[in-house]
């Protein structure tokens, strides 16, 4: 019961009679979470349907790609179901959600042979009532009763004319922001982790440059001061003392100068690299709404 609640597994069993009265379909739906109005929408879209919830058909929703012969994996089960419900075809629909996307996999079986005759996988970004709309389109496509509204619904949301699409965020915008302040371009592109890494790295390097320069400055001033005192005395002990101090200051000012230049170089290089990185990970528009199905990547619970 808990498992059913967690994944909201339900099977939607219905017999659909398409416009072609000779073809009858048994539709099995498997959703990994509750889709409100799924059943009522299908009743409304496809008349003469009846529903029966049955959890014994889990086997039909296993990944058939793991089978040696996917098309004939469930021949006997399909034949039995076809005889039991007196239908010509069985349509298995499965919807899985991964983050802000959902995957719809549809499989059409012929009950006379028991084989898989048609299969379709769709990977889409969520849109309003998208799962029901895509399910209706798929079932309508199979049963031959496509409603233009479904297509318009999809197109109105997913397929706007390119001339109407405004890309307010651009990779160049991200790069320019990162050139001004490291990490800003990554924040602009919603890459919070890399933004933090770049900002932290550049801040640390800049601090190192500043500290090195300040230490260089102190050492250089001390060197000049001790050199002046060295030149202005004719006392043997003072000459030796100021010379030793000035030599230490001279060594320090050389060391910190080299460090400041090295850190400045690293900061500058990192700054440019950060800008290039911001351009690379910068926001870009999706070119393909349909993506290749990867059976390993989605969470296949439910």
């Amino acid at each position: 019961m808990k498992k059913i609640l967690q994944y909201f597994l339900f099977f939607f069993l219905g017999s659909l009679y398409s416009a072609n009265l000779e073809s009858t379909f048994l539709v099995l739906n498997h959703f990994d979470k509750f889709l409100p109005n799924a059943d009522s929408s299908l009743i409304e879209n496809f008349s003469n349907s009846s529903f029966e919830f049955d959890s014994t058909f889990n086997i039909l929703f296993e990944d058939i790609d793991n089978h040696e012969n996917p098309a004939s994996s469930y021949m006997n089960t399909i034949k039995e179901l076809g005889a039991k419900h007196k239908v010509n075809f069985i349509l298995c629909n499965q919807i899985k959600h991964v983050n802000d996307r959902f995957m719809l996999e549809g499989q059409l079986f012929n009950t006379r042979s028991g084989g898989l005759i048609y299969r379709r996988k769709i990977d889409l970004t969520n849109y309003i009532n998208g799962q029901i709309n895509e399910l209706s389109m798929w079932v309508g496509n199979v049963t031959g009763s496509v409603n233009d509204e479904w297509q318009k619904n999809r197109e109105s949301i997913l397929f706007r004319g390119s001339e109407d699409i405004e890309y307010k965020k651009t990779p160049m915008g991200a790069a320019m922001r990162s050139l001004v302040a490291p990490g800003w371009g990554q924040v602009y592109s919603d890459k919070k982790v890399s933004a933090g890494v770049w900002a932290g790295t550049e801040s640390t390097l800049s601090l190192a440059v500043l500290i090195s320069f300040l230490k260089y400055d102190v050492a250089a001033k001390s060197y000049k001061s001790n050199l002046k005192l060295y030149n202005e005395t004719d006392d043997e002990k003072e000459v030796a003392k100021y010379r030793a101090s000035a030599e230490n200051n001279w060594d320090d000012h050389v060391t910190f100068s080299a460090l400041a230049i090295a850190f400045a170089g690293a900061t500058g290089t990192g700054w440019v690299a950060n800008s290039i990185h911001a351009w690379i990970v910068g926001p870009r528009a999706y070119k393909n709404l349909y993506q290749k199905w990867d059976p390993k990547s989605p969470n296949t619970t439910g």
């Binding site: 060197y223 004719d234 010379r243 100068s257 400045a264």
Partner: protein, 188 residues
């Protein structure tokens, strides 16, 4: 705009690089035996301090005469010196010669200090250390101060005539002087 950004980056880079200027290591105090050695002048050395000075005709020019020893055990003690100093009489005239503190004895009295002047440009100074507690001296020290009055403007050097200078210990053994350094005097 891009051009300005590039210029800004270049300017910032130049600022960092040129702000971190490396100063020349310039130790050249005549009283410093290390500085003299770096110039190839060995110790003991006769030098003047300061090595260069610029005065006006109304000022007095004071040039200190020093003996510089190396700070190690290879040096020999000395008791007496003879210095022959040549100065540019074209714009300087000798005013006074003062003994330095180095060769005075422990009671701060003046054991032996005398000089001769040829009334032209050569001064001979004779000094001898006559302390009752120790016979010799070792180390860098002040032998004499020479005070000149400028007679006109000019630029030249006060120098030692090293071949005529001599340093001896209390047994009258000669100690070889390894070098000398003059002093530039500019009167404007």
């Amino acid at each position: 705009m891009k051009c300005h950004r590039g210029q800004l980056i270049i300017i910032l880079a130049c600022l960092v690089v040129y702000s971190c200027t490396i100063f020349e290591k310039d130790f050249d105090n005549p009283v410093d035996f290390e500085a003299n050695e770096e110039k190839g002048i060995g110790a003991p050395t006769l030098v003047f301090y300061p090595k260069s000075q610029t005065k006006t005709t109304s000022d007095s020019v004071v040039v200190g005469s020093f003996i510089v020893f190396k700070d190690d055990s290879s040096m020999e003690d000395f008791s007496g010196v003879h210095l022959q100093i040549i100065f540019p009489d074209s714009y300087l005239e000798l005013d006074t010669i003062k003994p330095g503190l180095f060769i005075t004895d422990t009671s701060n009295s003046m054991p032996l200090f005398t000089y001769t002047f040829d009334s032209v440009n050569t001064i001979d100074i004779y000094a001898y250390f006559l302390d009752t507690l120790k016979p010799d001296l070792l180390g860098t020290g002040h032998l004499a101060d020479l005070v000149f009055n400028p007679t006109s403007t000019g630029s030249d050097s006060v120098s030692y005539h090293l071949n005529a200078c001599e340093m001896i210990d209390h047994e009258d053994n000669v100690i070889v002087l390894k070098g000398d350094r003059g002093a530039e005097v500019i009167v404007q």
